[in-house]
């Protein structure tokens, strides 16, 4: 076994690998860029080597510097994590040349699977099911009908040069195939100047389901069942689970066998993932193979109890797999939610800054479920614009899917992040989504269910009750403490006022205390809007999460102080809550509503970022849809367009400016 390994990665995956290495008694070397000096992975590793400036191309992607770091520290092997150099065959060869072991497959396998066409060919040769289609070009409408008949309807008629849905037609019968071919061809000609047309099987309600495999250098291989990753936004996975709610035992076995056949075909030696697309009738077709550890590997670990990183290290060290297919049992259900530093209500734009608060939910096994959080950040960490915006992977396990979903909802409720925007409200809304709960998924789920993007849900009847009750409990404790200040004219008699009004956003909810003492732990009988409830909690002022019971329901409500009140969040619903005596509530209703400043004549910077270019000049007239400016954040260029016809009055920013969110870029007449 290796004595020392280097982890050529950063963030959560570097921390994840270090944990297993430590468990195995292997010492660890972290590498880091200038932007990551204070990063958690650097702190965790036994040694750390600075490998270059912030830009990944000059640090985490620099094979030379990483190899140099290995030599400098005497690391015998390199774990690449995912991304960066994990699927770079030249890097593996570079390591091999220096006698350093790459903890992953051999370069040949990486190369073979790295090319889309080659990998499909190898897959087909290994009798792996691929999407049926005609590899050549279609001559005319008759040819299209003939090919479509051979493939079997429905089919997708696609422009070779196509993209963005243009030049694509689904045909369910011959007439449609004929018409679709003509339409696609003319559309392709006019849109792309290239009218070449392909036909392949149209996958109805496609799901993304992948098989985790493990293989060693001695010809042994096992599969660890599947993961379903259909919840994606723009091809980026957001939520994954194992097993899939859709796959039966027979399909699983068939998929597993084919995945292993493919692995054998390329002499695969490590952990790897074979991705399939699965249609509504459980027909599955090979997509591609990922020759590395996947982001979502923890869900497989949770249902199999196998540490994939440990297996990768053992295989790389030449050990034989100690596992046989018969040893692999899938137990219970695991879900992973990827926590991203992005603003879900601003079209998921990246968000950067310091994590002023970062309190993940309590980890470990409790009440029959498990919470796991793979993270590479800590409170005080800086989320920079240089790297991937994923900051944590929150996983839950329970004996069944409903339990895992419920545990995830609860864990998300307890996850406190301040200082940046994040997608927890979106994930929480997803966990409450009926179609998700029923497991009726497809890769189109988010586009279909959130066609207009995401907005924070207003509290529903239950949310209103829970948030009002918690607001009351929080205020009473605050009040009770102040009622015991020294210097009072008369000692506090212990009396508390019975009648209150909770202002929840703009709604006034009557609340009454029926019985109970305001103290810690709290046990109060109250009525909220006439409904009797008992509140039980050990919450203390200053705690970020109010955990306890509201009626029969166990809740975890996040509490953030605001002026004269608290902002409460629970199950994706948030409200500003202020608790008033009835007379003050009456006067509060007299207060004018302050209008938000008019921003319709301003172009605001949608996220913190760098102005790349300004496309207009002062005095210029622009039409709706024209580009006004380009702002870059987290390596993504965002084009800001005019949403109506207007005239530019004044430019407030220039290329090269670093802007905060909502900074005014330009003003219109």
């Amino acid at each position: 076994m290796f004595r020392k390994i280097l982890i050529a990665n950063r963030g959560e995956i570097a921390c994840r690998v270090i944990k297993t290495a430590r468990k195995m008694g292997i010492s660890t070397v972290a590498v880091y860029s200038e932007a990551d000096g204070d990063a958690v992975h650097v702190e965790m590793a036994d040694e750390a080597v600075l490998i270059g400036p912030a830009a990944a191309s000059q640090s985490y992607l620099s094979a030379d510097r990483i190899i140099a770091a290995c030599k400098e520290t005497g690391a015998e092997a390199v774990h690449p994590g995912y991304g960066f150099l994990s699927e770079n065959a030249a890097f593996c060869e570079g390591l091999e040349a220096e006698g350093i072991v790459f903890i992953g497959p051999k370069p040949k396998a990486i190369r073979a699977m790295g090319d889309k066409i080659t990998s499909k060919k190898i897959a087909a040769e290994a009798n792996v099911s691929t999407v049926p289609g005609f590899m050549g070009l279609i001559d005319d409408a008759d040819h299209a009908v003939k090919i479509a008949g051979e493939i079997g309807f429905p089919v997708m008629i696609k422009a070779s040069a196509g993209g963005g849905g243009k030049g694509m037609r689904v045909a369910w019968n011959e007439a449609q195939a004929r018409e679709g071919f003509d339409r696609s061809k003319s559309e392709a000609a006019s849109s792309f100047g290239d009218d070449r047309i392909f036909i392949e099987k149209f996958i109805e309600e496609p799901r993304h389901i992948e098989i985790q495999i493990l293989a060693d250098a001695h010809g042994n291989g096992v599969h660890l069942g599947e993961r379903e990753c259909s919840i994606q936004r723009r091809n980026q996975k957001i939520v994954e689970e194992a097993p899939s709610p859709f796959i039966d035992e027979a399909t699983r076995a068939a998929m597993g066998e084919q995945a292993l056949a493919l692995a054998r075909a390329v002499d695969y030696q490590s952990a790897g993932t074979v991705e399939f697309i699965v249609d509504r009738n459980r027909n599955f077709f090979f997509l591609e193979m990922n020759t590395r550890l996947q982001v979502e590997h923890p869900v497989s670990e949770l249902v199999t109890g196998i540490d994939l990183v440990e297996q990768m290290i053992r295989v790389a060290a030449g050990e034989k797999l100690a596992l046989r297919q018969g040893d692999i049992r899938l137990e219970g259900w695991a879900i992973e939610s990827r926590i991203y530093a992005e603003d879900p209500v601003r079209n998921f734009l990246p968000s950067i800054g310091r994590l002023t608060r970062y309190r993940p939910p309590e980890k470990g096994r409790r009440n029959g479920f498990v919470v796991r959080n793979d993270t590479g950040v800590a409170e005080g960490s800086e989320i920079s614009m240089f790297y991937d915006p994923m900051i944590a992977k929150l996983c839950t396990w329970a004996p069944d899917r409903a339990g895992a979903v419920e545990a995830m909802a609860e864990a998300l409720d307890c996850f406190v992040i301040d200082g940046i925007e994040h997608n927890i409200p979106f994930l929480t809304a997803l966990m409450r989504h009926e179609r998700w709960q029923e497991g009726r998924l497809s890769t189109g789920f988010i586009a279909e269910e959130f066609p207009d993007g995401f907005s924070l849900p207003a509290p529903d009847a239950q949310g209103r009750q829970v948030l009002s009750a918690v607001a009351l409990a929080v205020e009473l404790l605050r009040k009770d403490r102040l009622d015991r200040l020294p210097g009072r004219l008369a000692p506090h008699g212990g009396d508390i006022k019975r009648d209150w009004v909770v202002r929840l956003n703009d709604e006034y909810v009557p609340a009454t205390i029926v019985e109970g003492m305001v103290s810690i732990p709290t046990e109060l009988d109250v009525t909220i809007d006439g409904d009797p409830l008992t509140l039980v909690s050990e919450w203390r002022p200053g705690d970020a999460v109010w955990k306890g019971k509201v009626g029969s329901r166990q809740v975890a409500v996040q509490v953030r102080p605001i002026l004269n009140g608290v902002k409460l969040s629970w199950r994706g619903m948030s409200a500003q809550a202020r608790v008033y005596l009835p007379r003050i509530a009456e006067l509060d209703r007299l207060m004018p509503v302050r209008r938000a400043p008019d921003t319709s004549k301003l172009l605001l910077c949608p996220m913190p970022g760098l102005v790349v270019s300004i496309a207009v000049e002062e005095g210029q007239e622009v039409k709706a849809g024209e580009t006004l400016a380009v702002v870059e954040a987290m390596k993504m260029e965002n084009v800001l367009r005019a949403d109506r016809d207007c005239t530019v009055a004044k430019l407030n920013a220039k290329p090269g400016d670093s802007l905060a969110v909502d900074a005014v870029i330009m003003e219109f007449v």
Partner: protein, 509 residues
């Protein structure tokens, strides 16, 4: 009921009606509460004891003897805020536009005197048209009597003013002499002479909002300490402020129940960026030092390069002063010096310990600052820290350069506990400037300059030279800051230090 008793009730009804339904509705339509409603919101429910409800003016000129209204435009009395005594007066805009008559002034003077005699805070709610012109010099006399009482009470009891409508002419100077002024956005303004007079005298055209609105006084003039969106918000925040303050300069600090020992906070070890020129938000450190992240900031919108405000540590009030690296690198300029000086003096008056966080690159250079009197403004802060006898705890997080090091509650100004983080750089100036002066002869040799710079950085840009001399009591881990501050404050509870007897000092005003 006996007829006389009924008569009292009738008279009370009449007094409570103020200027009548129509005027009250008008007040509400403008988004403002009435004087009595404001007092109701501010004080504990049912705790208000009113004085002089039946006072009327004594003016006979201009037909005034025909119009008399109970209360004469101001409601006065006392009550409690969370059980502690507070004296109040509220200008009643529905009665003679809240204008000040001789009788009106006497009502205010009475509560001022009672507040001082009984050592309890006093708060005034302003919403008035200035002096009652019909009363002439009697009104002027009334103002001056109020001013005199403001001054006598200054430093003995906390005095707070909330501007909740117009406040002009003679009305502005009483608030100006109190400890804090707060405003309500959109409905309040404050100036010595209004837009009409301004137009006549200087030919400037301005609106009342532009001349003296909340945005002017919180951002530009620093007259106001904070502004709120509406009356309710402002009044409830005044309750919060009162909870932080001792009742007088001889009262104990208010102390609330506090749960749990202060814990280490590893996130603070990451606070200081690797690059010494990169800013970070000092408020992050303040929120992690005070209890429950509860911080009442004073003058948040003005001179943002320094942060001042109240928090609690282990349940007891502290005043926080901190350079803010996010704004102008935390430099000390005239505005920042004045802002912090006044805050430190308030804390010293009322025995509120001062915790100072230092990350200051020096004083701001330039003609604008020098012409503006930076020397004397900077001296105010120096003076305020030096004369203060309250417990003073100082933590240097990063830069403490030059004269600004001395000013920011240094050991030499009787700092009780002076800590530095390992990231501290306590030096006469930064490396570049120092090397260019000390090694002027090598200025054309970049290699030598680089070597000198490295030497200077290693030796002097650290807390250890100061620690060797005892100028810092201890170099502490950032994560232990809250615990260290809490323990120091405990130790200093019985601090006994006084300055030599004097009539008063002569701070460079």
């Amino acid at each position: 009921m006996k007829e006389v008793l009924k008569e009292l009730e009738r008279r009370r009804e009449a007094a409570r009606a103020g200027g009548g339904r129509k005027r009250i509705d008008h007040q509400h339509a403008k988004g403002k509460l009435t004087a009595r409603e404001r007092i109701e919101v501010f004080l504990d429910e049912g705790s208000f004891e009113e004085f002089d409800m039946f006072v009327e003016h004594r003016s006979i000129d201009f037909g005034m003897d025909d119009t008399k209204i109970y209360g004469d435009g101001v409601v006065t009395g006392w009550g409690t805020v969370n059980g502690r005594t507070v004296f109040v007066f509220a200008k009643d805009f529905t009665v003679f536009g809240g204008s000040l008559s001789e009788a009106h002034a006497e009502k205010v003077m009475k509560v001022q005197e009672m507040a001082l005699k009984n050592r309890a805070p006093i708060i005034g709610f302003y919403d008035a048209g200035g002096a009652r012109i019909q009363e002439g010099v009697a009104a002027l006399g009334g103002y001056a009597e109020i001013f005199q009482r403001n001054v006598l009470a200054s430093g003995v009891i906390p005095q707070i003013s909330v501007i909740m409508g117009p406040c002009a002419g003679g009305d502005v100077y009483s608030p100006a002499m109190t400890d804090f002024i707060f405003m309500v956005r959109d409905t309040s303004y404050m100036f010595v002479t209004g837009p009409d007079v301004v137009k006549t005298v200087t030919n400037e055209t301005v609106t009342a909002e532009q001349l003296g609105g909340a945005s002017v006084h919180t951002v530009k003039s620093s007259i106001a300490d904070s502004a709120y969106d509406n009356d309710i918000e402002a009044l409830l925040q005044m309750r919060r402020l009162i909870d932080f303050l001792p009742s007088s300069n001889t009262s104990e600090l208010p102390e609330i129940d506090f749960h749990g020992e202060p814990q280490d906070d590893p996130a603070l070890d990451r606070l200081i960026p690797a690059n010494a020129n990169k800013p970070y938000d000092i408020k992050g450190l303040i929120l992690k030092t005070v209890d429950e992240r509860d911080f009442f900031e004073i003058q948040e919108a003005f001179a943002r390069n320094i942060v001042t405000g109240f928090g609690r540590v282990e349940g007891r009030t502290v005043g926080i002063v901190a350079n803010q690296p996010m704004v102008l690198a935390g430099v000390l300029d005239s505005d920042a010096s004045r802002k912090a000086a006044r805050f430190v003096r308030f804390c010293d008056c009322f025995s509120i310990p001062v915790v100072t966080f230092v990350d200051v690159p020096g004083f701001l250079p330039g003609t604008a600052q020098e012409y503006g009197g930076l020397i004397k403004h900077g001296a105010k802060l120096l003076f305020a820290y030096a004369e203060a006898t309250v417990p003073k705890i100082t933590i240097i997080t990063r830069k403490a350069f030059g004269g600004a090091y001395d000013v920011m509650a240094s050991k030499h100004l009787r700092g009780d506990i002076n800590y530095a983080w390992p990231t501290a750089q306590i030096a006469v100036m930064g490396a570049k400037g120092a090397v260019e002066i000390i090694f002027r002869k090598d200025i054309d040799d970049p290699e030598k300059i680089a070597a000198h710079t490295k030497m200077y950085e290693d030796r002097f840009l650290s807390p250890f030279v100061a620690a060797e001399r005892g100028y810092v009591d201890e170099v502490i881990m950032p994560h232990s800051t809250r615990r260290r501050v809490a323990r120091a404050l405990r130790m200093l509870r019985n601090k006994d230090l006084s300055n030599p007897w004097k009539k008063h000092d002569n701070i460079p005003l």
